[in-house]
Symmetry: C2
Subunit: 263 residues, 2 copies
């Protein structure tokens, strides 16, 4: 099942809806897909609405570096031996930075221009959960979508935190929809810059998989419906400049496409 | 004006309300204090309700180290010269960790026990804001409350991020109310452990003040109503163990009191 958040043509308020398997028509719902909802009776062609980031998360978690090649590249750059981390250390991103499909990624005026994409699987939590085990962790997952963890590398290197490097407005495109029927091992992530494929990797080839990550997090944290966990990306990435278009595609989850513009 | 969120005796759902100047009676409102609201007609004695964290923030920002003595202590411990940072680097906390006045701070079972308090001024945003200047930044502030940035020092030192060190459930007590009429220069922060004062400092003696911080943040980030910015603490702090009670008091903002219990 595919779920979207959208604004219909000529309207202002966002609504939730389901998207049919052929990705052509949205059936609007009253309520939201995490809780009680009923069909509103209105339907819209997908081509006639503006899709938004599927929802605004209560807490926005990010796994950070979580793929083998990402560590290999970092180790090579630093001239250090390759060592994978012993445990996942979750980070945070900010909801102000969320935008939807086709929304522009705006390069801040004082950016060095060293802006890069990171195509990521996004886990969407559907149930309140604490003390999950690896065996039952996936039961709290509502579905999956795509995220682009846009990063300004100069600020990432210079600042004590990632606040502006990763959380400036528009730096977190998410969408186009949430898919609830997903087989993680069958997913492939493809990232394209201006139509040319930059990277392709098995989405589930993470160092810390989804179940392991959620089990670790919920030893200490309570997850709630709508929380999102971005699972990291694999290398390589490239610089983006105004005029570019970046696309992240994951099998069955659609294509998250965003243009880059100057601020 | 003082605003609270509370659960009335025998009820389950939280409500918002205003608290009179003598801090004895709550006038419930329909709606919330950030948006349109009207009196519901119900009033409650403060002593008869359970106060909650005043609200759940869309984004939970934290200034981190922002007082001179905090840097002096860190420099002495590290045997390094005292250098203040050139700019504020905002961090993030997680709303799962928010609890209200009198709620217990729960020490996780696998904690080293090295749990410490940090009494902080919390800025509550009332208006959507971007590109603020230092001159107009305070216009977006709705009011102020108190936070206790509970930190597990072993995890803070060992982990790549502060995820469990600062964001485990119950690690972010906030309240007891939001005060909208505040003169920052008149505030004094007092922190007590089991009734004994541990620290006392002028709340506004920050390296980066509220206006400067908000102006810096909004060069890159859009603030929205309900966002909170925790402004850091001054040293010293102490270890807390189950059975302890920690209190953070700021002039006019009340006392945020929380017991510590074993998980």
């Amino acid at each position: 099942m595919k779920w979207v958040r959208f604004v219909a043509a000529g309207e202002v308020d966002p609504h939730f809806g389901s998207l049919d398997d052929s990705c052509s028509e949205i059936c609007e719902i009253d309520g939201d897909f995490f809780g009680a909802h009923t069909p509103s009776g209105r339907t819209f062609p997908l081509s006639g609405v503006k899709l938004l980031a599927p929802f605004i998360a209560p807490t926005f978690y990010a796994a950070g570096a979580n793929y083998p090649n990402h560590f290999r590249t970092a180790a090579e750059k630093a001239g250090k031996p390759l060592v994978f981390p012993a445990q996942i250390d979750i980070g945070y991103r900010a909801v102000n930075a969320l935008v939807g499909p086709d929304d522009p990624i705006v390069v801040p005026q004082d950016s060095s221009g060293k802006l890069q994409f990171e195509g990521e699987l996004v886990v969407v939590i559907g149930k309140r959960a604490k003390h999950l085990t690896e065996a039952n962790a996936l039961e709290c997952v509502f579905g999956y979508t795509i995220g682009n963890d846009v990063s300004e590398r100069s600020w990432q290197a210079a600042d004590r935190t990632f606040w502006r490097a990763k959380n400036s407005d528009t730096f977190k495109p998410m969408g186009p929809w949430i898919e609830t029927d997903v087989k993680l091992d069958e997913l492939v992530t493809r990232v394209r810059l201006n139509g040319s494929e930059v990277s392709r990797f098995p989405t589930n080839s993470m160092i810390f998989g989804v179940a392991k990550t959620l089990a670790t997090m919920t030893r200490y944290l309570t997850l709630v419906p709508g929380d999102i966990v971005w699972m990291g990306t694999d290398d390589p990435t490239l610089d983006m400049v105004p005029g570019d278009t970046v696309e992240v595609e994951i099998t069955g989850l659609g294509v998250l496409r965003n243009p880059v513009i100057a601020g």
